[in-house]
Each structure stands twice: as structure tokens, then as C-alpha cells.
């Protein structure tokens, strides 16, 4: 049996969109990008895809990577990116009932899908999603699936029935070990995700995602109710009024800034 890696990815609003171009939809309580800005695969999830592909590179012919995503609708050319990077299969959990789920419900949907997928060795996720910045779903998944969970990995190595993970921790690094199956979240310190090559893009075009709806997962509808109520989404008002230090030239401005900081007793 090849090593089976499941990577959970999320389609998100492009975080590079300038803040000034974003608006809040007060009804749906979420941020909306201009129509001409396409969504992206969450950046940390691409790091997780890269971590999976590195394991696959190290064990040629012995790794299968299934990509899993949950949502109401998908931009197919976006969500297929992990396939074009080299993943094997894409399973979309797509249902109107999956719109705007909170972390609690999302973890339950993903856990049900992972159980339905059958045997697996590793679940990889990005450390957090750039929209809601929760970092909750992976730990939730680990609890629901009864897996050891390791977060913020910069290096993932699979040895015999075990995984060795280098984590980014404040002030240094930490190496931990867990038995498989395990859940691991990946951070950008792992390194740049690879760009899809032409062969990968062609292969991805031919692959059709498997689509499962809520009914296919046998989910208790009560689990789709939010555990956290989102009351309001708002953009905080900026109150600070900057004092611009002028000068004859750039060097003079620098000097005057130092004097100003002394006057304000800051240095």
C-alpha cells in the first residue's frame, strides 16, 4: 500500500488584494474582493501541498496525495492548482449547506469526508487560513479523528510508521516525533511552494474532481450549526494622525526626526 497523504486546502480571497479595494458584505458578514480579483488557494495550504509533494519526491511511486476542500462553490482553475503541482486526486465537498461554515462545522465536514476516504497515513493542513486566521480546523480534525496533531511544521520527514517534524517555535526550533497516522500543519518557513509545470497543468486539466454533497457524508445537520456566532464584521477606524517631519533634504529630515524623538522623550 502506498503512503496516503490527505491535504486539506481552502479557497480564499486573495490576501494580496489591497485593503482599500475590499468591502464588507454586511448581510453575509464577510469580506468581498472586486469581481476582477480571483480567489486563491490559501498560502499556507500551498505550503502543505508542497510538504506532501516533497514526501512524494522522496518515495517515488509510493505516495498517493488526495486533496480535500470544503465550500459552497469553487473556481475550478484555482482549486485544481494542487493537482497541477503534482497531487493525485481532488475531492470537493460542495454543497449550499457548506457556505460560510464556522471552524467547528468545517472540521466536522472534513472529518466525515476523511473517514469516507478510508485508510490514510498523514493529514496535512496549512497552519491557518488567511481569511479568518483561526488555526482551529486542524486541531479540531485531530480531535475528531483521534490523531496526534503537530502544528507549525517547517520540515516533515516520514520514516517507518513514524513522522519526524521540525517545528518553528519562539526563539528556536523543536523536533518532535509522532506515530502515524498523524495530522500536521505547515508554515511558510517550509519554503516556497513549487510552480506547476506544463506537464502538471495538462494532467490537472484531464482530472475531474470527485464531488461529495452533505448527503453523501451522512452528516448530522446539527453539526453544521455554528458554535461561534459571528455578530459583526467591521473595519476599525484609524485614529492616529501622523506628524510628518519636513526638512531641506532627506538627510535633514532624518536629523530632524531624531531631534523630534528626543523632544518627545522617546530616545
Amino acid at each position: 500500500m502506498p503512503l496516503h497523504i490527505i491535504v486539506c486546502v481552502k479557497q480564499v480571497l486573495d490576501p494580496e488584494t489591497p485593503a482599500s479595494a475590499l468591502r464588507i458584505d454586511p448581510q453575509l458578514r464577510r469580506m468581498v474582493a472586486p469581481a476582477n480579483v480571483p480567489p486563491v488557494v490559501n498560502g499556507f495550504d500551498e505550503n502543505a501541498v508542497e510538504a506532501a509533494l516533497r514526501i512524494k519526491d522522496a518515495r517515488p511511486g509510493d505516495v498517493k496525495i488526495t486533496v480535500l476542500s470544503c465550500g459552497k462553490s469553487f473556481a475550478m482553475e484555482v482549486i485544481k492548482k494542487p493537482l497541477s503541482m503534482g497531487c493525485d486526486e481532488l475531492v470537493l465537498l460542495q454543497d449550499n449547506a457548506f457556505d460560510n461554515l464556522d471552524a467547528f462545522a468545517t472540521a466536522h465536514v472534513l472529518a466525515a469526508a476523511i473517514k469516507k476516504l478510508g485508510a490514510f497515513d498523514i493529514v496535512l493542513c496549512g497552519r491557518q487560513a488567511s481569511d479568518w486566521d483561526q488555526a482551529q480546523v486542524p486541531q479540531g480534525l485531530a480531535q475528531l479523528l483521534g490523531l496526534p496533531g503537530v502544528t507549525i511544521a517547517k520540515k516533515v520527514e516520514v520514516t517507518d510508521k513514524k513522522v519526524r517534524v521540525e517545528r518553528v517555535v519562539p526563539g528556536g526550533r523543536e523536533v518532535v516525533e509522532a506515530s502515524l497516522p498523524a495530522l500536521i500543519t505547515v508554515t511558510n518557513e517550509l519554503g516556497q511552494p513549487r510552480y506547476p509545470n506544463l506537464r502538471g497543468i495538462m494532467a490537472a486539466t484531464r482530472k475531474q474532481p470527485v464531488v461529495w454533497k452533505a448527503g453523501d457524508l451522512g452528516l448530522d445537520p446539527a453539526l453544521l450549526q455554528p458554535a461561534v456566532e459571528l455578530q459583526e464584521l467591521f473595519i476599525p477606524v484609524q485614529e492616529k494622525n501622523v506628524e510628518i517631519i519636513e526638512g531641506e533634504d532627506d538627510a535633514d529630515k532624518g536629523r530632524k526626526l531624531a531631534l523630534k524623538l528626543r523632544e518627545a522623550k522617546l530616545i
Binding site: R29, A135, Q143, V175, V176, A227, Q231, A251, G254
Partner: protein
């Protein structure tokens, strides 16, 4: 849970003393407990705990300190602590559980909430409680700090993780009285499935970035690693530390432990001097507690000027050496 009572803080220690974030949580816990007319308890776990840590917790406002000493706390800190906290919560049925949004707390908070089957307010910067039954309301930054979400928890216990430095620590009062209760849970080795094999420090010598009173930060606009030498000299002169934006760390100009921001370090210095930092919300999320931000940037429209108290619109290559030179003279003249 029929009758819930009290606010439970999941504590952390640092070099044998109570971690600053736990002192901040105790301040918040006290204000929530006052409204509820209930008590504050803290749970501390380590392989070996010093008496000072428990004494600190009482001085910062805990009425009860639950202590757990166990070898698994060193080997598998998150899983061991999670097992202990889950047990304490099920036995003591607190109304509110507060966890620091630290490395360990980021794992423990969601783990606990999912085990209890309740929601979690993650990474909060404001936490309020109108009345016990109405629920806990929290404000948390989302979309990399571009927006804020007001969220409510309606099922007890209300579990929230709180961003470090979002709350001021309370006044330390060593005359406070409290009770220290040693728990001896039989932690089975099977709870520990993630084992720490190795810990290594990569921090440079000098002032810790998180604790520095003055921070000098460099951004992508510096163009390469070399200018950081000048930033280091300036920081040293001011008794501070150097930080950087994520783009700078991703480019490999400085190591990742320099990173300030949402997924990097959270700083709250008196003075944060930014050089060629544009001030993207993901970066500002790590320095919203800075009391005075100074911006040196050539683009007047960049976001950093919206957050700064003082700004210079200039090319850093010309402004920074003159600034550093003048700072040097001022510091020397006393």
C-alpha cells in the same frame, strides 16, 4: 454542566516564573469574575514547578492555583496539559476558560473546545461578558488584521484564547491570599503521542525582540540583507532589538526569528522605528501594541503612515544614516 462557576486561566511559566501572558490573562479574568461575582483559578503544569510561579499567580489575582508536576509535561507539553485542563474543566465546571494565544495555547485552545464540544473564540483582543447566560462576546482581528469580527459564544464553558499583550498586566500585589492545590492526575503515557526529541535555541544574544522597549524594524524596501547592519547598530545604541517583516524573512535576508507580524512575533515596545516597511495589515497585527510608531518610508501613501505617530517621507538610504548619526550624538550627550 448544571452549575458553572468561576474563571479558569490556563497558565504558562517562563524560566520558573509566571509567564507575562498569564499575568495579562489574570487581569482580564479578574474583571470578568467581578461581573459574575465568581472566583479566579489558574492551572499551572510543568515537569517541576517553582513555588514562585504559584506565588506570582496569586499576586496577580488568582484565588486558587492548581499545580500539576509531571514528567510528560516536558516530553509532550501540549497533550499532557490538555489532558489535565480537560479534567479540571469537567470537574470544576468554570463559566469561562481563558488560554493565551501562544505556541502551546494555539494548540490547547482548539483541542479543549473540540473535546468539550463547544465553540472557541480564537485570538481575542477584547473579551466581555454581559451576564452569565447571555454569553461571552469577543473581538478578534481577521483577514490579516484588515477587519475585526465580533463573535459570541452561547454555550458554557466559554473558551477563548487571548492575544498576548492585548491586555495590560494587573498590579502585582504580594499581600493577596490564595490557595495552592497540588493535583496528582494519573497521566497515562498513552495521552502523549507527540514526543519532543530536541529543542534548540536560535535566538541571537542581546535584548529579546518581544521584550524590547525599542524595536527597529526593516522591510522589503531595504533591498537586501546589508542594511540590517545599520539597523542592528541603531538598535544597540538605543538598547533595543531588530525585527523585520515577513517578506524580508521569506527572502532570507534575516532569520525567521526576526519576523514581526501575524504569524511572527508580537511586540509592544514604547518605540517602534520602521524603516522601509509598508505596514501591511499582517505586519501591523504583530505591533498593534507599540505605543509610538515612527515611519521612514519614501511612499507617502503606504499604510505605515496611517499607523505612525511620526513620519519621514524620504529615501532611507539618505535619511537613515543622518538619523542614526544624530541619535548617536543625542545618546552620547545624555
Amino acid at each position: 454542566m448544571s452549575s458553572t462557576s468561576g474563571v479558569l486561566v490556563v497558565g504558562e511559566t517562563q524560566n520558573g516564573r509566571l509567564a507575562p501572558v498569564t499575568a495579562e490573562l489574570l487581569g482580564l479574568a479578574r474583571s470578568l469574575a467581578r461581573g459574575l461575582q465568581e472566583q479566579v483559578a489558574v492551572v499551572l503544569g510543568a515537569e517541576k514547578l517553582s513555588p514562585e510561579a504559584a506565588a506570582d499567580a496569586i499576586a496577580y489575582g488568582a484565588e486558587t492555583v492548581y499545580t500539576v508536576e509531571h514528567a510528560l509535561m516536558e516530553q509532550s507539553p501540549v497533550e499532557a496539559m490538555l489532558a489535565v485542563v480537560e479534567r479540571v474543566v469537567r470537574e470544576k465546571t468554570p463559566t469561562v476558560v481563558l488560554v493565551g494565544k501562544t505556541l502551546a495555547g494555539s494548540d490547547l485552545g482548539p483541542g479543549l473546545a473540540f473535546r468539550l464540544g463547544v465553540g472557541l473564540a480564537q485570538d481575542c483582543i477584547e473579551v466581555t461578558l454581559d451576564s452569565k447566560e447571555k454569553g461571552l462576546v469577543a473581538v478578534r482581528p481577521v483577514y490579516g488584521g484588515v477587519a475585526m469580527a465580533r463573535v459570541a459564544l452561547k454555550r458554557m464553558p466559554y473558551v477563548a484564547t487571548v492575544r498576548p499583550k492585548a491586555f495590560d498586566p494587573p498590579q502585582r500585589d504580594t499581600s493577596r491570599k490564595g490557595e495552592v492545590v497540588a493535583l496528582n492526575p494519573s497521566l497515562d503515557a498513552s495521552v502523549a503521542r507527540v514526543r519532543v526529541l530536541e529543542r534548540a535555541s536560535e535566538e541571537s544574544a542581546g535584548v529579546r525582540l518581544e521584550d524590547a522597549r525599542v524595536v527597529v524594524g526593516g522591510g522589503r524596501g531595504l533591498g537586501g540583507p546589508e542594511p540590517f547592519q545599520m539597523l542592528e547598530e541603531l538598535a544597540k545604541l538605543l538598547g533595543g532589538a531588530v525585527g523585520a517583516s515577513r517578506a524580508v524573512c521569506d527572502a532570507g535576508w534575516v532569520p525567521y526569528h526576526y519576523q514581526i507580524g501575524l504569524t511572527g512575533k508580537t511586540i509592544a515596545p514604547d518605540l517602534y522605528i520602521t524603516v522601509a516597511i509598508s505596514g501591511a495589515s499582517q505586519h501591523m497585527a504583530g505591533c498593534s501594541g507599540a505605543r509610538n510608531i515612527v515611519a521612514i518610508n519614501k511612499d507617502r501613501d503606504s499604510n505605515i503612515f496611517k499607523e505612525a505617530r511620526f513620519g519621514v517621507v524620504a529615501d532611507w538610504k539618505k535619511a537613515l544614516p543622518a538619523f542614526a548619526e544624530t541619535v548617536k550624538e543625542l545618546v552620547k550627550s545624555g
